[in-house]
Each structure stands twice: as structure tokens, then as C-alpha cells.
């Protein structure tokens, strides 16, 4: 029993065994392999990498297996592992302009240099259940793989608008300072944009989506257009101290969204469109788009916009999006609270007897 303090250790051991059994499910069926999760549940793996804030598809798949498919629990496992890793270098900023794109669309032009490339997308599937997938091995035959030739880099959709000055440039902060690291330094509000972007990039996808949606329904206004959404592989480079020049250490898969938003202008500055930026590990289009909307509304101070809505309020929008923190604290209510509860109980009894004494 829960309250049997002496039995706590045995109870925990028993719950572990039950968890192992529940994870395994029907033993008549083959056990799920981590590689299968990595390859066939890739979008879930990507979400766990984003919210776990660690790029490692293998470990994210393992975490999902261990967590019985609970994405937040899996992200928690990854965060708990990540925190034990030494940080030995910063990479150079990844250059998404040089991304090997597997998908690239722009909603603001009918066509543009580099073309519109749909890639693998659910967008035009009409969401009818494909009952063929119920039977293993009966999926539609695979088309012959396209040529192994790597696709050429595609120029950013906003390039010529930015060159014309119609869209604000995306440039590093003055002096290109070393980025703040929210995992080493607790955020102090108001927090600068690099720290905000870090918080958003690992925030809960549902939270980001809800906040972003609220801005589209009138709770803060962004007037967004999807300037470009691209997904593909980018090179990761570091500059080792011994060498002094960048070397490529690998490739990661990213999704980037450049949202073009409401223009600003003043007596001194001609009107121009502004940007919201979203970046996600793996193929996370919904996440990158939502993040770009939230990034833009959180820039209210830069553009002298009135702060009226939750999505614009840093202290509301940012800390509550961390689902590891939120999940922990909401669920800590399962812990014993009988000492604090006893004091409340005592207080209520006292108040009631005082009130009854006053009533004639």
C-alpha cells in the first residue's frame, strides 16, 4: 500500500516490473526494435530530439521505446541524458542557405528560382485511412529511388526582397556575441531574442501551436505569410582551437521557417516587412511554423507594439512552454502532501469553529 512507508522499496521494485511488462505488451508479438522506431516513426523521433534538445535519432528512438511512446517522457529521458554530456565546443552557425533541401515551399510567390519542391508531405493526402497498411508488407510498392545526385543548394526565397530592402535583413547581433546558453544561465526577463529562440526551439509543440494560433485569431496580430519553409540536411562545422579554421564534423536534418510579417515603418525608416524565425531538428514543419509566429509576436518591444495578449508576454509564453518542467510540476501533485494538507485542515477547522461560536 502507498502509505506503508516500510514497504516503499518493495513497492517501487514491483512497479518497475509492472512497467517492464506493460512496455512489452503481448509477448506473442515481436518486440519493437529501436531501429524500426528510428526509421518508421521518424517524425516522433524528431519531436523528441527537438524537445529533448539533443540531436541523436538513435537515442531518441531508444527513449521512445523505453517511454512506451510517451513523447514527453521520452524527451525527459533525453534531457536527463543530455545534461551529463560535456560541452566541448560551439559549432559555427549552420548555414541553411546551403541546405540540401528535400522540401522547399514559398507561399508568397507562385514560382521562384529553385522552384516549389513538395517533397514528402501529408498536405495533399486527403486523410483517408489507408487500410492496406493494416497488413504488414502490403504497403504500396516503392518507386525506384531517384538519382543519388545531391540536389543543388536553393537560394533563400526572401533573398531578392531582402536585397531590395522590402524585408528586414537577418543579420547577427552587433559584434556577433557568443550566444547565451539557457541551459547554463537561467533566463532573466525581459530576455533577449537569442535566449527566447532557444527556449522556443525546445518548447512543447502543442504549446507553441496554441500560442501561434491565438495570434492568428486576434490575440496579438502578426499578419503572417510563409515566406519559406525548407527541410533538408545541413553541414555542421566547428573551428578547433588548434586549427583556427572550420572543419565539417557531420550533417543534421533541420526544418526552417522564415515567416514574413506585418510591415513596420516610421517617419525616418521606410516601411518594410519583418521576420519571424523558426528552426527545428528533423522534419518539424508544424513546429517551425508555430515557432516563427511566436518569435515574431515576442518582438513587440523592438517594433513598439502594444503588449495586450498572452503570446506577447515573455514571462507567460516562454517558461510555460517547457514541457519537462511543466509535466514535472503538474505531476508532483501525486507526491505525498499530508503535512501541508494537515496544516490547511487544521486552519479550516479553526475558522469554522470560530464562525460557529459567533453564530448565536
Amino acid at each position: 500500500m502507498y502509505i506503508a512507508v516500510k514497504g516503499g522499496e518493495a513497492a517501487i521494485a514491483a512497479s518497475w516490473r509492472l512497467l517492464d511488462e506493460a512496455r512489452r505488451g503481448d509477448r506473442a508479438l515481436r518486440e519493437l526494435e529501436v531501429a524500426q522506431i528510428r526509421e518508421q516513426l521518424g517524425l516522433l523521433v524528431d519531436r523528441v530530439m527537438a524537445e529533448g534538445s539533443l540531436y541523436d535519432p538513435e537515442l531518441a528512438a531508444l527513449a521512445l521505446k523505453q517511454a512506451r511512446g510517451d513523447a514527453i517522457e521520452a524527451a525527459f529521458l533525453i534531457r536527463a541524458y543530455r545534461t551529463t554530456l560535456p560541452r566541448f565546443a560551439f559549432t559555427e552557425p549552420v548555414d541553411t542557405d546551403r541546405m540540401r533541401v528535400s522540401r522547399r515551399i514559398s507561399a508568397i510567390f507562385k514560382d521562384l528560382p529553385g522552384g516549389q519542391l513538395l517533397g514528402p508531405t501529408f498536405d495533399y493526402t486527403q486523410r483517408l485511412l489507408d487500410f492496406r497498411l493494416l497488413e504488414a508488407g502490403s504497403a504500396a510498392p516503392l518507386a525506384t529511388p531517384a538519382s543519388a545526385e545531391p540536389p543543388p543548394a536553393v537560394a533563400p526565397a526572401l533573398k531578392h526582397l531582402a536585397d531590395e530592402g522590402l524585408v528586414e535583413p537577418a543579420v547577427p547581433s552587433a559584434g556577433d556575441p557568443e550566444p547565451d546558453d539557457i541551459t547554463r544561465h537561467p533566463p532573466a526577463y525581459p530576455t533577449p531574442r537569442p535566449a527566447r529562440l532557444q527556449m522556443l526551439s525546445r518548447a512543447d509543440e502543442g504549446w507553441l501551436l496554441g500560442l501561434a494560433y491565438s495570434t492568428q485569431r486576434g490575440y496579438a496580430n502578426t499578419h503572417p505569410f510563409a515566406g519559406e519553409v525548407r527541410h533538408g540536411h545541413v553541414a555542421v562545422e566547428v573551428v578547433p582551437d588548434e586549427l583556427g579554421f572550420p572543419i565539417e564534423i557531420g550533417e543534421i536534418e533541420l526544418t526552417e521557417c522564415q515567416m514574413v510579417n506585418q510591415f513596420v515603418g516610421s517617419a525616418n525608416a521606410p516601411p518594410q516587412f519583418t521576420r519571424g524565425h523558426g528552426l527545428a531538428f528533423g522534419h518539424g514543419e508544424r513546429r517551425a511554423m508555430a515557432m516563427s509566429l511566436v518569435d515574431r509576436v515576442l518582438r513587440a518591444d523592438e517594433f513598439d507594439e502594444e503588449v495586450t495578449s498572452p503570446a506577447q508576454q515573455q514571462e507567460f509564453a516562454l517558461p510555460h512552454g517547457d514541457n519537462i518542467e511543466a509535466s514535472g510540476f503538474v505531476q508532483h501533485l501525486k507526491l505525498p502532501h499530508y503535512v501541508t494538507f494537515e496544516s490547511e485542515l487544521h486552519m479550516v477547522r479553526t475558522l469554522r469553529s470560530a464562525q460557529q461560536a459567533e453564530t448565536p
Binding site: 510567390f109 507562385k110 513538395l118 498536405d123 486527403q126 486523410r127 492568428q216 485569431r217 486576434g218 490575440y219
Partner: protein, 281 residues
């Protein structure tokens, strides 16, 4: 046609419910009518309202045209056209003049419409006041009292800030002298086409669960001020394909840096070119 699904996907009871809501919408032009919007097999924001309206009004003899951004061949238009071909078997067309039902997103066709046509708009945000009053219950009250001061103040602020009042797209209109209505995000260039249009104009917002309508020959006035009348922005280029100087144009960036301007209404553009080729020399 897909076996296992009803004609036009929705069951007959649902289609009747939508038609009843549409009748109310036609009877009170420009007024948003709540309806029991269904979950559709396309994503919210991709035309679920327009698709439900089209499904409710489409008959076996109809000829359907679907456009997005004025064009029949944009992915979303192709997808929706395919959906209706699959679920109704009705014939489809790209020619505006041949269509009896036209579902559109973000444009009104350039060719004049007739009494025999229905134009179905996909509407992302039916509430014209939502940026000024995001609480829907309060906005409904403002409509009931015909209290549109907020909107006039907003237009006045735009005028003082930018020197112009037109909202570039989704510029609010007053329908039949009573309701302020969102024309859906069509360019304000298209707004005048709504005024006394012979075609029935139906508007569907699936996610927000609202329908509204502009019956044929109804007054539709773009909001403005007496001393600052609403003006239609005229195109600054000619279409590179048909030479038109009176149509809404797409700007297409090219690799040599010189953008190409072409008609957004691809059927109208084709018609103009055919007319020019067929003309006696």
C-alpha cells in the same frame, strides 16, 4: 467515384443542415450564421468551410471549377478539385464561363459572373472585427447593435498613419447597408466585383463554424470616408503573357533578377490570348 462514401462526401442530413444555414445567410445578407461544421478530410485552414458549402450545393448536373490565388493548377485547387471528382463524379472545368459552381480562395474571377453561377469563398476568418475585438461573444453584440465605431477608428488610424485606408486585402465591406462583412482575403482590387454581382456569393468558414452570403444584385460597399473614398489600386504592369493592363497580376521572381508579371486568373489570361490569336489580322 469512391465506394463507401455518400455523394459529395457528407451525409444528406449534414448537407441539408448546411443548406438551411445558407438560406438564413441569404435572407440576412452579410450576417454570420453559425453552423455545425464537420471534421473534414482536409486540414482546417485549407478550405474546409468552402468544401462543405460546395458539397451542400453541388448537384449531379453541376460543372465545378476550383481556383486558389486565381489559378486552377495551384496544389490546393488541384487537391480540392480531385476530392470532388472522387466523391461526386461531377464534371470539372477550368473555364470560368462553363462553370456553374466556382470554389475560390483569395480571388474573384476576372470574367463577369452570371445569375446561373454560384461563387463559393473559402474563409479563414469570418469575423471582420476580430483584430479589434477578439472575444467573439462581444463582437456578435457589436454586430447586433450595428456598432462599428471600432472599425471606423481603425480605418481612420490607418489613414493618419499610412495616408491610405485600403487594407490591401480583406478590406471590410458593408453589405446591404447593414452588416460589416469580411470579403475573405481577396485583394481589395477585387472588392468592387462583389457589388451587385448577378451570381450568388456564399462564404464558408469551417474552423470558425460560420457561414454567410451575399445574394445576387446586393449592394456591397467597401468601407471608407466621404472625403477619402475607397480606391481600387490599378496594376502597374502589363501581363507578360496576354498583355492585359486591367487584371490582378502575380509577381514571379526569376533567376535573372527581373520579375515576371502574369495574370493571377489563369483562365482569363488564356481566354485573352485565344481571343488575340483568333482575331482577324
Amino acid at each position: 467515384m469512391n465506394a463507401g462514401y455518400n455523394f459529395a462526401y457528407l451525409d444528406e442530413g449534414t448537407k441539408r443542415m448546411i443548406r438551411r444555414a445558407l438560406l438564413k445567410a441569404v435572407a440576412v445578407p452579410g450576417c454570420q450564421v453559425p453552423f455545425g461544421s464537420r471534421e473534414m478530410p482536409l486540414a482546417y485552414g485549407w478550405g474546409t468551410g468552402g468544401i462543405q458549402v460546395t458539397a451542400a450545393v453541388l448537384g449531379q448536373g453541376d460543372v465545378l471549377k476550383v481556383i486558389d490565388q486565381g489559378s486552377d493548377d495551384t496544389t490546393n485547387a488541384v487537391n480540392i478539385r480531385h476530392f470532388f471528382r472522387r466523391t461526386t463524379g461531377v464534371s470539372t472545368t477550368e473555364r470560368t464561363r462553363e462553370a456553374t459552381v466556382i470554389q475560390t480562395r483569395h480571388r474573384i474571377p476576372e470574367a463577369p459572373l452570371t445569375e446561373h453561377q454560384v461563387l463559393v469563398y473559402q474563409v479563414p476568418q469570418p469575423e471582420p472585427l476580430y483584430k479589434l475585438e477578439p472575444r467573439r461573444a462581444e463582437a456578435t453584440r457589436l454586430h447586433a447593435y450595428r456598432e462599428y465605431g471600432l472599425m471606423h477608428v481603425k480605418l481612420y488610424e490607418d489613414l493618419t498613419h499610412w495616408g491610405r485606408l485600403d487594407s490591401s486585402y480583406d478590406h471590410p465591406v458593408l453589405v446591404h447597408g447593414r452588416y460589416v462583412m469580411s470579403p475573405s482575403p481577396i485583394p481589395s482590387f477585387d472588392n468592387p466585383k462583389m457589388h451587385r454581382n448577378p451570381a450568388l456569393q456564399l462564404f464558408g468558414a469551417g474552423r470558425e463554424k460560420r457561414l454567410y452570403a451575399v445574394p445576387p444584385y446586393t449592394d456591397v460597399k467597401s468601407l471608407d470616408f466621404e472625403d477619402h473614398p475607397f480606391e481600387v489600386p490599378m496594376p502597374e504592369h502589363a501581363c507578360a503573357l496576354c498583355g492585359s493592363t486591367t487584371t490582378w497580376l502575380d509577381e514571379v521572381p526569376t533567376s535573372d533578377g527581373v520579375p515576371l508579371h502574369t495574370c493571377s486568373d489563369t483562365d482569363h489570361c488564356r481566354e485573352q490570348r485565344e481571343a488575340a490569336e483568333g482575331a482577324p489580322l
